[in-house]
Symmetry: C2
């Protein structure tokens, strides 16, 4: 299911290939986020042209709207959204904690009222897995508790125990239902390591989750407001516990330099709303940092967003035109920046894989990070 | 410049071909509206795939933002927006009357404050033509006064005289500047017939404009709130005065049945924001009338927007998915409906041309109009 093709001699970076029911994914891989059944502003055809190998769907959002029964009626998420490549779904937990109202966590699961019409619902570990099976995603995530930042040690210590008990229930639920389903059509299940910013809790959580045995392992509860160094430490503490022959997914991350840093720390899969979300605000990624295309300096600029970029926006459109579109609130403007930003992230992964295979990843990472100017706006979203 | 290829024996419908600096246009033709330098939500590639042969740009909007100097700097509107097909620009007059603040009409022209930042400006007949030359459109429209509906006879009678004097100044300005420019690179100039809802004024205006001599003739001041029958009468009164060997443009029209009715009344060119504007509200055109895809009845609907439609949205996406996208305010939803609606309008023109050439247009028109249920919402925008 996961083939390790190359490992870097200077860092923990790896190149691999993950096989799923709807195709294979070259890792390190970036997963564009299709929250509500659409990668925002992008069509499936454009995703294919971008050579995206996997996209992410948010179970919470799809559960709330259009609802699982609708997606089941259409034959699953792939058919509903007309995307026949791999899809990873999260468990819904993270969005319940960040979006839903009146949420109450108990051993059973999470009760909440959704943020759209306030309807009450329960998501338990079993329900989370059954929803994801109904959605038909290629990779399903277990239900976990994602504590806020900052978080007391005692709370985080209790929380990783709950997360482990829930992970066990998720695994049992899936095994119970799918014991007779063979690969390659079997849905893969990833466990999630929690433990907030506490290194010993991260290690304990990783051991508990690995002992349960999953198809892959995610590091959750990162990028929830903590400083970047704490995020790196949480990953560094968890990673050595994870088996090398399984893919590792750093959830909800990150900026381009962060992703390279996490690849260097042994991570394989990434998802982040930054490329699509910042695009809608007129912000484009480049190898030297982000550009706010609303700025007056671009009014007369005949150049592309980034020189030598091969994306559709850069091949055909000038910064000055894109700036005009964004200022005039024309949808084409955010479409073009979204295409560029996704291309930028996906191409960064292609470059990382090539550099790892050639043994030059560490130089590449250092140079990229040194050249990239991080601006506050890029992460404060 | 305009070749009449077929005329209908039962109606005044005609098939023609109009040659412009950026290519030829088969008439009857529909022109998607690219108000601010973008047909809303659509890329130039998609316009080419839709086989749109000409698009419209609004001089007023482009004058206000990004400004003529910016577009000149980029080498004209075609290069700025990356569309190498024909473009028609209006004179800006209509939008000054409908959008700008503090407008004051005098013999000189129209003084106004724009609706974006309130900056004062003057558009005179000469300035209107010079702006359109700077934009580099293939077809430019003269500056006219578009009286509101309803309008007193006396006002309309004085107004057509002003419109005729302005038309003369437009023609002189262009001839003065472009006397040494040969076709096919010469910008075509269309005159505009006014006269509100008064048949005799329409005829007088048409005679005055035709006597000045233009490359084509438009009927303006229609679809400004008057009942449909009055609009048809205004066209019917003007049309016999227009030379048959020049294209005729019914400005700002209309619904699908209206367009067929106007083709039957000898009109060749149409533009209308309905297909793009209604799409953004979730409304799709079909041969039996519009569908509001927000309606709950479409939740589980696996069919395309319209059966047998060959547009990209109908080939690949179900009503139920598009409904979900619109309800969830996903941009892909309005993109798909926009593509469908533009395809619908452009395909209606292709059908009309084929029926005229085969001599079956009148049956086609009757049947289409009988099958098409017009809803209030379709025109009240």
């Amino acid at each position: 299911m996961f083939e390790l093709k190359a490992t870097d001699k200077n860092t923990k970076a790896r190149v691999g290939r993950l096989e799923t029911a709807h195709g294979s994914i070259d890792t390190p891989a970036f997963m564009p986020v299709g929250t509500q059944g659409s990668v925002k502003a992008v069509s499936p055809r454009e995703l294919r042209e971008l050579k995206a190998q996997i996209i992410l769907g948010n179970t919470y959002h799809l559960f709330v709207r259009p609802g699982v029964e609708v997606i089941k009626h259409f034959g699953g998420l792939h058919k509903f959204i007309n995307w026949d490549g791999p899809i990873l779904t999260d468990s819904g937990g993270y969005q319940i904690f960040s979006l839903a109202k009146l949420r109450r966590i108990s051993e059973e699961g999470v009760r909440f009222q959704n943020h759209v019409d306030g309807a009450p619902a329960l998501i338990s570990p079993e329900i989370a897995m059954e929803i994801q099976t109904a959605l038909g995603s290629d990779i399903a995530m277990v239900l976990d508790e994602c504590p806020p930042y900052p978080c007391h040690y005692e709370y985080a210590a209790r929380s990783i125990q709950l997360t482990a008990r829930w992970a066990k229930r998720c695994k049992e639920n899936v095994e119970h239902r799918t014991s007779n389903v063979e690969r390659p059509t079997r849905q893969l299940i990833f466990g999630i390591v929690q433990g907030a910013t506490f290194e010993d809790l991260r290690q304990t959580s990783a051991h508990m989750i690995v002992d349960l045995g999953f198809d892959g392992y995610a590091i959750g509860g990162v990028s929830v407001g903590e400083p970047e160094e704490e995020m790196f430490r949480a990953v560094e503490a968890s990673e050595p516990v994870l088996p090398t022959d399984r893919p590792r997914y750093a959830m909800g991350l990150g900026t381009p330099p962060q992703i390279l840093e996490l690849i260097a720390r042994g991570m394989d899969l990434f998802d982040c709303v930054l490329p699509t979300r910042l695009a809608r605000n007129g912000t484009a990624f480049t190898s030297t940092g982000t550009l706010n295309l609303k700025n007056a300096e671009f009014t007369m600029d005949k150049g592309p967003i980034e020189r030598n970029c091969r994306c559709l926006a850069c091949r055909e459109f000038a910064r000055g035109y894109i700036r005009h579109l964004i200022k005039a609130e024309e949808i084409l403007g955010l479409r073009l920046i979204t295409l560029h930003n996704l291309h930028f992230y996906l191409d960064l992964m292609r470059q990382a894989r090539a550099k790892i295979e050639r043994g030059t990843f560490e130089d590449f990472r250092k140079q990229f990070v040194a050249n990239y100017k991080t601006r506050d706006v890029d992460v404060a979203v």
